[in-house]
């Protein structure tokens, strides 16, 4: 095997090791975090601090009855949970996690798929998530599932526009769709002489739009209308049990992680942190870059948890009004201002 191929497998392995552990760890963080916010204890019996609770849950999921209701559209019903993990497990390929490194004289880029389409590929693969929800809701043959999935589709396509426009605004000063170029651009600039060159400072509006839209894209509170327990039982996955339900769950948490990684790369400097050295042995460089990116992802995920247990749910027409009448015009204004500033030579 050539070095490039081995390195690619190693990079995929590194990402998978992190992503596949996101769901169990985040479930624990979420339950302990909600307990902290609501002045409770949370799960604390299984293992130290309740850390093994997720493991116990996973085993339980596996041994639960794999129920298939009699009225469902079987092929689509099975396809939907299998597709649920696809967006998260493919989009990480375009995310860079370090500078170019040299192994035995060969240059290796620290991203899995070194493609020109970069962000575009990420957004294209991420929007496959809509199919999961629509297929699950339609094939379940249950009115709660159907309502949940129709809502989910409307919500995701509405907020995808604002998300896309805020992402385009970041790419304007960079002039490239490649995420490693975006990180390089941020590493080379410094705002006002002392702030790091992160895009969050000049494009704070775009950052806020991105964060709000990513809550809606991942169906998290305050935008979890597709699930809305109080009115739709469990939304699009009402009829799913055991590991089929767990796959939806994993997909949701892994999508949060990859979208957080995109946010960290676009707005918070990605793998770069000012003051850290990115020279020396290649393994050290790669680990430093990955750790910095991981810390930023964790910061994003903690924000997701914090917001979930702080805000109540929106009503559906409020949600769509916010997306179409507030976020979309704001994102357009943000884009035009950034483009004018870029051509004017300010950014």
């Amino acid at each position: 095997m050539s070095l490039a191929f081995t390195a690619m497998l190693a990079k995929i392995g590194l990402w998978l090791a992190v992503l596949l552990n996101v769901a169990p760890v985040m479930v624990w963080v979420e339950r302990r975090g909600s307990a902290l916010i609501q002045d409770r204890l949370g799960p604390n019996r299984v293992g130290p601090l309740g850390l093994f609770q997720s493991l116990a849950d996973a085993v339980k999921f596996l041994f639960k009855e794999d129920l298939t209701p009699s009225e469902v559209d079987k092929p689509l019903y099975y396809l939907a949970p299998a597709l649920a993990v696809v967006p998260a497990l493919t989009t990480f390929a375009v995310l860079p996690f370090g500078p170019d490194i040299e192994i035995n004289g060969e240059t290796v880029k620290l991203l899995v798929a070194d493609v020109d389409s970069g962000v575009l590929l990420f957004l294209a693969l991420a929007s496959l998530g809509v199919y999961t929800l629509v297929l699950a809701g339609y094939s379940s043959n249950n009115k709660y599932s159907l309502l949940g999935s129709v809502r989910a589709a409307a919500q995701m396509i509405s907020y995808e526009l604002a998300l896309t426009l805020s992402v385009v605004a970041v790419l304007v000063p960079v002039g490239s769709l490649r995420l490693d170029e975006v990180v390089r651009y941020q590493a080379e600039t410094a705002w006002l002489g002392f702030l790091p060159g992160w895009n969050v400072f000049p494009q704070i509006l775009g950052f806020l739009i991105f964060v709000v839209a990513s809550f809606a894209e991942t169906n998290r509170l305050p935008f979890d209308l597709p699930e809305a327990e109080s009115e739709l039982v469990a939304g699009y996955h009402t009829e799913y049990s055991s590991m089929k339900f767990a796959l939806f769950f994993m997909g949701e948490y892994m999508s949060m992680a990859t979208l957080s990684a995109l946010g960290a790369t676009l707005f918070l400097g990605g793998w770069h942190f000012p003051g850290l050295s990115y020279e020396g042995h290649w393994a050290v460089v790669a680990l430093t870059g990955f750790t910095v990116l991981l810390v930023k992802i964790i910061a994003f995920l903690l924000l997701f948890v914090w917001v979930r247990w702080t805000f109540p749910r929106f009503r559906f027409d409020q949600l769509l009004r916010l997306g179409w009448k507030v976020l979309l015009p704001l994102a357009l204004v943000n884009l035009i201002v950034v483009a004018a500033l870029t051509i004017g030579g300010v950014l």
């Binding site: 009115k143 896309t164 179409w324 979309l328």
Partner: protein, 127 residues
Amino acid sequence: MPVDHLPVLLTLGFALGMGGVILLASSFIGSRSGGRIKLSPYESGEPLLDRSRKRISVVFFLIAIDFVIFDVEAAFLYPWVLVMHEGSWPLFWAMMVFIFLLLVGFAYIWVKGGLDLGLKKTDTSGS
């Protein structure tokens, strides 16, 4: 180059494979019991109140159409970003004209109430 996308194909294969394996494992390991009533569509333990495939409110179709218009706009923005540094102001104004034309349509939808998605006027309950 197309060959650069090979890793994405690899991860796609892995993701689909993982989904399939987990589904298979779950269907083999999980216990089984039950009957006809248990397998009927979920309705809070009641007999089914009405049919499952209801008619969907027309606002959802409206949103889908609105989305298509603006998604095409977003698709045009990506190539614009790539050549904007060379194109400078003339290209900037060209894009502004394009965005303006779309905004006329957006304003029309807004004024006509296409974005007021309160479900009160188009209630389809019981249909």
